[in-house]
Amino acid sequence: MSNKNDTYAYLLRLGDNALVLSQRLGEWCGKGPALEEDMALTNVALDLLGQARLWLSYAAELAGDGADEDSLAYLRDADQFRNVLLLEQPNGNYADTVVRQFFFDAWHALALQQLRVSQDPRIAEIADKALKEVNYHLRRSSDLVVRLGDGTEISRNRMQAAVDHLWPYSGEMFDADGVDLAAAAAGYGFDPSGLRTEWLAYVREVLEEGTLKLPSPEAWMQKGGKQGRHTEHLSRMLSEMQILQRSHPGATW
């Protein structure tokens, strides 16, 4: 049962990452900077939402207390969410949205490669499906980082500001705690600290191509999201997301 609890906690992180980022992307709907971009962004939002549903449904099964994807999404308070802080940061201008996505996609692809060979076949299966989508997300966000970085002076400045501003939220993705180590030891997950070198190398390469500067890898990093200590943004996001379920307890939609 302790093992099941660890797996549950592990799945929540994967599901909440996808759910929270998808929710943020959904805020852009109909308001993006170009029609094609709107559609591509919604595609990413949809992929992530689909992944969130798979992770959370599996978590709900393990919890086995009548939970389902919706009760997990709509009836937990902010301190029960386990996404990394990076993903709950507000959309800001579009440069902030692109950089947030790029930092996460680069990690997400590496993470899913690990999970694809998980000893939990259900996790491996979800990761395999998700990886195909995330490879596309990463190509897209990397491409945007290059084009917007090496675009106009305005776009370079906005992108560099976004990189600098979001950088302190990038470290948490590699910060292993007990839940991660239990997952790695049991073979259904991995130790995220092992991904940092590869992530840094990739991010550095793409930023350089976009004429952007990588901030110091030794900079202080914010953390807490994976343990449920979030920024002030998450509870506001959830108040909007959850209001209907909270206002109509027990209703089916």
Binding site: C29, L35, L49, R53, Y94, S155, E240, L244, W253
Partner: protein
């Protein structure tokens, strides 16, 4: 004019007009107006439903809604492309939308006040749209007719999803059912107005019919919509907000009450509840995105220059 006669003859023979073909200037202008208006409606139409994406009450419904709003962007894209084949640029069309020169469907100037409105839009607004658009799949201008075929397939799907959403509400709690009824009350009349003014007052109609870019009259389509929708409402257990609505066995159609055309013209004129906001939202998105679009162009220029230099 001999060219016009030949043009009309081809249309009468059911031959599609293609972008490279000669066409009368008024045909081109009428189509640009009609197609761009349709494209703008798809784009502006993202906003009322998009208003509920972040609040959708289940993950499944959220996914359906996201996909639907994305489809609308896609429809906008095909339709802008179809209009571009007539010699107008997308930037020009966007400018015309923002300046108020071009119109979009007035229905999107009504607010979405509850989650049930998302269902009502799918059922009624997409329902009316399809009724309008199915005949256009056979219209005389090739690119438009092909765009319509693709659009109609997706719209029919949206309509079923909207109806299904309302079905869940109508089978749910009394509050949910009340939400559905309230949405029907607010969306019913505007949906009937979507077909445009009564035939007697309709401009452009005769010529458009002859050119096969309009195949049924406004009132014909409106009647079809009423006839299709009344039994659907009954099945949901909802009441259509029209005391004069009743089956007319003689006509084989439902009779329905008088439409408040004053409201219609008022909303068209800019006085709807959301006209100002819809355009302001789109304009802000466009203005805020300017640096983004300029950067992509600047980057592409750099790349093509460096390719040229490499080639030289």
């Amino acid at each position: 004019d001999a060219a016009e006669v030949r043009f009309q003859k081809r249309i009468d023979d059911g031959i599609r007009v293609e972008p490279q073909d000669w066409m009368p200037d008024r045909y081109r202008k009428t189509l640009i107006r009609q197609i761009s208006q349709h494209a703008h409606s798809e784009i502006v139409g993202q906003l009322p439903e998009g208003n509920w994406i972040t609040r959708a009450p289940s993950l499944k419904r959220k996914a359906i809604l996201l996909a639907k709003v994305q489809d609308e962007a896609g429809h906008g894209l095909y339709l802008y492309s179809a209009a571009e084949t007539l010699g107008i640029s997308r930037d020009q069309m966007v400018d015309d939308l923002h300046s108020g020169k071009a119109k979009y469907s007035s229905i999107f100037n009504y607010p979405t006040l509850t989650w049930a409105d998302v269902g009502a839009i799918g059922w009624l607004v997409d329902g009316s749209a399809i009724m309008n658009q199915i005949p256009l799949c056979r219209c005389s201008y090739g690119p438009y007719s092909r765009a319509m075929i693709r659009v109609c397939k997706e719209e029919a799907f949206h309509m079923r999803q909207g109806y299904d959403m309302l079905m869940s509400l109508c089978r749910g709690t009394p509050e949910q059912k009340q939400m559905a009824q309230d949405a029907l009350n607010r969306w019913w009349w505007p949906s009937l107005m979507m077909f445009g003014p009564p035939d007697a007052d309709s401009v452009h109609s005769e010529q458009s019919k002859q050119w096969k870019i309009k195949l049924f009259t406004n009132d014909e389509l409106r009647q079809k919509m009423v006839d299709q929708t009344v039994p659907q409402a009954e099945y949901l257990g909802l009441t259509i907000p029209d005391a004069d609505l009743k089956w007319n066995a003689e006509r084989g159609h439902y009779d329905y009450g008088a439409i408040d055309w004053e409201e219609f013209y008022n909303v068209v004129k800019g006085n709807g509840p959301c006209n100002r906001e819809r355009i302001a939202t789109r304009k802000k998105a466009w203005d805020d995105g300017e640096w983004f679009r300029e950067a992509l162009v600047a980057h592409a220029d750099k790349k093509s220059k460096s390719k040229l230099q490499a080639a030289a």
